[in-house]
């Protein structure tokens, strides 16, 4: 049997699990629900693994496999299908999604043990996995959009999982609406594609587009910029990044799965998927790089001053996705995908560890109220440290180093890159290591400030350990030229992407760049140690000064983007709704009615009950009638 035919089962299993849980979840036992949900995702992961091995060992013709289930609808030749498309790119994403989801589901069994509404939680999680898999496996953009909105929905539902707190509802709503703004841009992009090609089939668009559009065509420009709108919304990039920090209101596994590992990288996937279009619109591709660079800096600076451990991680997620966008923008497609994969491992690890810490600290999020956790929770500490190391790109031993280093090199050396882009990434790398290790030192070192009343069980630990190991070793499947030149990952995925065009004279800079980045990362760790462990009073004193205070507030609020949008969009809209609640058009019709009433009053004033005035009316009528008869 051809294992590729099992492809449809990968998204279908979580979906069936969702259906079963939502229809009859209450009949399961408490752990039964979690185990059932986890197993469904686990089997999906297993099938992905089998298909992946098959794909590697004997790739199908043309390095892709397509499976059509049914035609969605067929109007005037426009004929999107419910169909799956498997190529190296979607395989990597599918693998990461199913595998990380599996681990996080596993972790959630323990996490949700005492929570109310666990059935709902697992049902939503399964629905999310299904949607995400639809997104990455879709063979046409409309089906991709289905997944795209589906993950947005699940993100909404899971951020607002603890629905009793109005703040969570607000955060959920904000996430859904802000991403919807991007989605609508993307929708318009889709409309444009349909108008031009009368199809949304990705493969056929990618083959016909270069024949129809010359590079720099305005059509290509608009389509790509609209798709970019969708991507920045989902991936929380500038200027639609504001929802992600608030999205941390959801449970930690949700943050790990949706807001770190998978959904937020959908934008990366979308751009990578439609890379041909972006190559036809070089201006937009540069814009992608600029958006990435700007976002990674802005988010990085904001992360430095956050106190909530999850918000630090959220900003770091935004910043890391900024790196991916930077890579996409300079044409380093495989580097972006590689960083996505590594990031999925270490960021979900960080979130899961943070989740354990938060539970142990009795739902305390503030890192300055933690401290000294190193000894009490050694496993969590070590796994968190691995994750943090990968995030800060500690040289040689962590996976993050290899992926980030590749991006930085391409930002400098690609024909589409520039020194400025590299510099942004370089500064960003420094900030990253500072805020990462600020978090590590403040939370895990120093003296203990609170009692821990909960010890993580084994179901918590195993996923953490697996992810921790991956954060360290996953980088070895793609080693740089200067260091072994072992590149199975990009070899595999480059059947989809064109190779990066390098500027020959900058090729030699690679080693210099690597060394300087490595030194910078270590220096960042050192600086964090100095500032937050040795001389915390220095930072405190800086915060006391007027400028420091204002700077702190500015960065803390995410560069005042929320304020900006509130003032210019939200408040006017609410104001407009308030003043025109009962519809001014209705007033117009009401005015007509009132005018009639007024005339009615005028006329009924003549009916005053005075007999003689009636007679007067008769006489007047006689005069008028006679006058008319006689003289007119």
């Amino acid at each position: 049997m051809d294992v590729f035919q099992l492809l449809w089962l990968i998204p279908a299993l979580p979906f069936f699990s969702f259906l079963i849980l939502s229809l009859s979840g209450s009949k399961f036992s408490r752990t039964g629900v979690g185990v059932f949900a986890t197993l469904s995702v686990g089997i999906s992961a297993l099938i992905t693994l089998i298909i992946g091995i098959q794909f590697l060992s004997s790739p199908p013709a043309g390095h892709f496999y397509e499976q059509t289930l049914w035609v969605w609808f067929d109007v005037a030749g426009f004929k999107p299908s419910i169909a799956f498309y498997l190529d190296p790119l979607s395989l990597v994403f599918t693998f990461v999604v199913t595998f990380v989801s599996f681990l996080i589901h596993w972790y959630s069994i323990g996490f949700m043990k005492t929570e109310e509404g666990h059935v709902r939680f697992f049902a939503y999680m399964n629905l999310f996995v299904f949607s995400m898999l639809m997104l990455v496996l879709a063979n046409n953009l409309l089906l991709l959009y289905l997944g795209w909105e589906g993950v947005g929905l699940c993100s909404f539902l899971l951020i607002g999982f603890w629905y009793k707190d109005p703040y969570n509802c607000y955060a959920a709503r904000k996430a859904f609406i802000v991403t919807r703004i991007g989605d609508t841009a993307m929708m318009i992009g889709l409309l444009m594609l349909v108008k031009n090609f009368n199809t949304l089939d990705i493969a056929s668009i990618l083959t016909t587009a270069p024949q129809t559009w010359s590079p720099g065509a305005s059509q290509a420009f608009w389509v790509t910029i609209l798709l970019l709108g969708g991507a920045v919304g989902k991936s929380a990039q500038l200027p639609l990044q504001t929802w992600l920090p608030d999205a941390m209101a959801g449970p930690s596994p949700v943050s790990a799965l949706i807001h770190a590992a998978t959904m937020v990288t959908a934008g990366v996937y979308l751009i990578a998927r439609t890379h041909v279009l972006y190559e036809l619109a070089p201006a937009v591709q540069t814009l992608v790089a600029i958006v990435g660079a700007a976002t990674l800096l802005i988010a990085g600076f904001s992360a430095i001053v956050q106190r909530d451990i999850k918000r630090v991680l959220a900003y770091s997620t935004i910043s890391q996705i900024g790196y991916m966008f930077l890579a996409l923008g300079v044409g380093a497609w495989s580097a972006a995908v590689f960083h996505f994969m590594i990031h999925a491992f270490f960021k979900s690890l960080l979130f899961l560890s943070a989740g354990v810490v938060i539970i142990a600290m009795h739902h305390e999020h503030d890192i300055f109220k933690m401290g000294g956790l190193r000894k009490k929770m050694p496993v969590v500490f070590w796994t968190f440290l691995f994750g943090a190391g990968a995030l800060a790109a500690i040289p040689l031993i962590t996976a993050g180093f290899y992926s980030k280093d590749e991006i930085l090199f391409f930002a400098m050396a690609s024909t589409k890159g520039s020194t400025w882009l590299w510099l942004a990434g370089f500064v960003g790398a420094f900030i990253t290591s500072v805020y990462t290790f600020r978090m590590v030192f403040v939370a895990f070192f120093g003296e203990q400030k609170h009692d821990i009343h909960y010890k993580p069980g084994i179901s918590f630990k195993i996923p953490l350990i697996i992810l921790g190991i991956l954060s360290l070793i996953a980088g070895f499947i793609e080693l740089p030229h200067t260091f072994g030149h072992f590149t199975p990952f990009s070899d595999f995925i480059n059947t989809v992407f064109p190779a990066v065009q390098l500027i020959p004279e900058k090729e030699g800079l690679e080693l210099t760049l690597q060394i300087s980045t490595a030194i910078l990362a270590l220096f960042g760790v050192f600086l964090a140690w100095q500032l937050y462990m040795k001389r915390p009073q220095m930072v405190a004193r800086f915060k006391e000064t007027g400028f420091g205070k204002r700077l702190n507030d500015f960065l803390f609020s995410g560069w005042k983007f929320d304020w900006l949008y509130d003032t210019f969009f939200v408040k006017p809209f609410v104001w407009l709704s308030k003043i025109d609640k009962s519809d001014f058009v209705d007033r117009i019709y009401g005015g007509v009615a009132n005018l009639n009433l007024y005339f009615n009053k005028l006329l009924s004033a003549t009916q005053n009950g005075n007999v003689r005035s009636y007679v007067l009316g008769v006489a007047l009528g006689a005069v008028i009638a006679l006058t008319i008869i006689l003289f007119l």
């Binding site: 009916q607 009950g609 005075n610 007999v611 003689r612 007679v615």
Partner: protein
């Protein structure tokens, strides 16, 4: 039997009628209004008789008789109403009796 030009007779009828109308319009006492109505009815009858005389037909006088009958009926009912009005409202002022309004 004297010849009277018909237009003169009609003019008299008109003058009487209008005097009656003025009476109806100006008086507030319902009794006077009733009398003024009688004047108007009488003027109308006069007009019929003048016309009948002009055409040498009996119909004018027949009409007058009908009008007379009607006047009699009207006055009897009208007076009964006035009496009731005076009994219930202690007034003969039509301005007070304005319940027939919106």
């Amino acid at each position: 039997m004297i010849y009277v030009p018909a237009n003169m007779g009609l003019m008299l009828a008109a003058i009487l009628f209008l005097l009656g109308l003025i009476g109806v319009l100006t008086r507030r006492n319902v009794l006077f209004i009733l009398m003024s109505l009688e004047i108007m009815l009488n003027a109308a009858g006069l007009a019929f008789v003048v016309a009948g005389a002009h055409w040498m037909q009996a119909d004018g006088q027949v009409m007058f008789i009908f009008i007379l009958t009607m006047a009699a009926a009207e006055v009897s009912v009208g007076l009964a109403l006035i009496l009731q009005m005076h009994r219930h409202h202690k007034t003969v002022d039509t301005n007070v009796l304005n319940l027939l309004k919106d």
